[in-house]
């Protein structure tokens, strides 16, 4: 969809090029994240796609057409653009801000008005904000308007430059989630610039790690970059907790569960003791027709006749197959039993994980 062929940019008066020789392809419908330290040329590269900056060398094509052959403003009408400071027009209402490109394209009033309503709902803005001015909105709301404005004319391509950098972390997380939801529905081709590695991992279908001067160190899905960094630069850039970051991307379902010591409450005390002996632990999980009730210790078995008379302690945390291994590890670390119980949506016992098995999950 977007093809950068040997693209380079040197700014006048500067010795070193901002971008030396970059070749990259972004496939249709994917989110490509550009990430790297300052000076790596990620923002410059982004701006060359919609010609806010003209490349010094190389060729860029969008949907097969060379961007240099189109009139800049026409090119930009078909590309959505979102920046960190948003840049909403202060002298226009929210509705008119969103309607910017449709108006330029000459849509009729009714069509524009419907579209604005649609988009405000899509990005989660209450309808009554339409008549307000940007100065009346919060940072998070303004950013949503920015996204709506970029999507207004339904462009196939979206360029985003650290759009969530200026909001607080909680809002940022929410906006990232919503972007992913949006993408599931709209399947745009998105080029996203960020310096936040966690954001890149969370959002990117593929991640381009750039070194100073626009040198492409690695371009691959985040899971693969984390598993196999291409060199010392990427390794160092990913940071010390690379393993934990990878765990965050792998679901529990990818790991092999251990059956674990679990008994139905209708079973006998002797059976419970046998399970404990088999697994060499001093506790068992108690189930009620497959559903987890909690756990009991060996000591609590003494002097008891039936299992179902003992009150089990509920598990503090259980995880589901769709949760990440990182979440499982977190639960495990705070559990006195040093394992984490895995259940399905109906609380049915599926098995358990210990550190070793979580580690093995990384190897998939």
């Amino acid at each position: 969809m977007i093809n950068l062929e040997h693209v380079g940019k040197t700014f006048p008066g500067q010795a070193a090029p901002a971008v030396g020789d970059l070749s990259l392809e972004v496939l249709e419908g994917e989110i490509a994240v550009l990430i790297g330290p300052s000076g790596c040329g990620k923002s410059t590269t982004l701006r060359m796609i919609n010609r806010l900056i003209e490349p010094s060398s190389g060729r860029i094509t969008v949907a097969g057409k060379d961007v240099a052959e189109q009139k800049p403003h026409e090119l930009r009408l078909a590309i959505g653009y979102v920046i960190q400071q948003v840049g909403l027009f202060p002298h226009r209402t929210i509705a008119r801000n969103i309607a910017t490109v449709p108006e330029l394209l000459g849509w009729d009033r009714a069509r524009i008005s419907t579209r604005v309503e649609e988009l405000m709902e899509l990005v989660g803005l209450e309808g009554e904000l339409a008549g307000r001015y940007p100065a009346e909105l919060s940072g998070g709301q303004q950013q949503r308007v920015g996204v709506a404005r970029a999507l207004a004319a339904d462009p196939p391509v979206l360029l985003m430059d650290e759009p969530f950098g200026a909001v607080d972390p909680i809002v940022r997380l929410r906006l990232q989630e919503e972007l992913l939801n949006l993408q599931r529905r709209l399947h745009k081709t998105i080029v996203f610039v960020t310096h936040d590695i966690d954001e890149a991992i969370r959002l990117g279908d593929r991640m381009a790690v750039l070194n100073v001067g626009g040198v492409l160190e690695q371009y691959a899905p985040p899971v693969d970059v984390l598993a196999a960094p291409s060199g010392p630069f990427v390794l160092e850039f990913l940071g010390a907790d690379r393993g934990l970051k990878r765990l965050a991307l792998i679901p529990v379902s990818a790991a092999e569960l251990e059956p674990g010591p679990a008994v139905e409450q209708s079973a006998s005390i002797a059976h419970a003791r046998a399970m404990m002996a088999r697994d060499r632990v001093d506790w068992v999980a108690v189930l009620d027709d497959g559903r987890v009730r909690g756990w009991i210790t060996a000591a609590s078995l003494d002097g008891q006749e039936r299992l179902d008379q003992i009150e089990p302690t509920p598990f503090a945390v259980t995880v589901h197959p769709s949760d990440s291994l990182r979440h499982a590890l977190d639960a495990l670390v705070s559990s006195p039993t040093q394992v984490v119980i895995v259940v399905d949506a109906d609380d049915r016992y599926l098995g358990l994980l210990d550190v070793a098995r979580i580690g093995k999950g990384l190897e998939t």
Partner: protein, 225 residues
């Protein structure tokens, strides 16, 4: 120009009633001189501003030159032009225009500069042509600053018009009364000329403020925190 203005009833109100027609004429002339001066000044300043914005290096020189024109006492400028353009309205207009230049020039440039970079970038990225960016985004947003400069220029001009009365008895708008009174030692016309000038200045100032508020509704709405 002798003048002794102390030993009589302060204001002869009947005189005012008798001369309403002349007062009206003078007022009209005053307004005419003001609007022409500010209008021409605005056009010239817009051109200068366009140049200064395109070629930043010219800003300081233009600022300095228009500044010097402003520093020359009005009285002197009116007088110095007489060998060239005579004791005419043109002389008055040339001088009045040159007084508006610096403030209008600076406020037009400042207005355009006050548009945030992110807004400018967005306008470009949305797909506006250069012309559309200038007229649909930058200029509307520059209005508050530009109009505030316009206010100062207008009010200053209203105050300078009377001084052009030095050029002759048919000049100076309301200033004719002032000079007439000073020459004859007669308080009432001085009072009329001066007071109406002040009222006119204040009235135009208020009018321009209202107009600016009407043109820029977004400046008043801010986030309730």
């Amino acid at each position: 120009m002798s003048a002794l203005v102390a030993s009589q009833p302060l204001i002869r109100w009947s005189w005012i009633g008798d001369h309403l027609g002349e007062i009206r004429t003078a007022l009209v002339q005053h307004l005419e001189l003001t609007f022409v001066a500010v209008g021409v000044g605005l056009v010239l300043s817009a051109v200068l501003a366009a140049v200064a914005i395109r070629f930043r290096i010219t800003y300081q020189p233009i600022n300095a030159v228009t500044g010097i024109m402003y520093a020359i006492p009005s009285l002197a400028l009116f007088i110095l032009l007489t060998p060239i353009t005579g004791l005419t309205k043109l002389t008055a207009e040339i001088a009045l225009v040159s007084y508006t230049l610096q403030i209008l020039f600076r406020s037009i440039v400042a207005g355009i500069d006050s548009v945030p970079a992110s807004v400018r970038e967005s306008a470009q990225a949305m797909g506006y042509t250069r012309w559309q960016q200038r007229w649909r985004v930058e200029i509307p947003l520059a209005l508050p600053v530009m109009v505030s400069g316009l206010r100062i220029a207008t009010v200053t001009t209203v105050g300078l018009v009377p001084i052009s009365g030095i050029l002759g008895s048919d000049q100076g708008g309301l200033g004719t009364f002032i000079f007439d009174g000073l020459n004859r030692g007669f308080n009432t016309p001085i009072f009329v000329g001066a007071t109406f000038t002040v009222l006119l200045a204040v009235a135009l100032d208020v009018l321009l403020v209202r107009t600016q508020r009407l043109l820029t509704p977004w400046t008043r709405r801010v986030r309730a925190t």
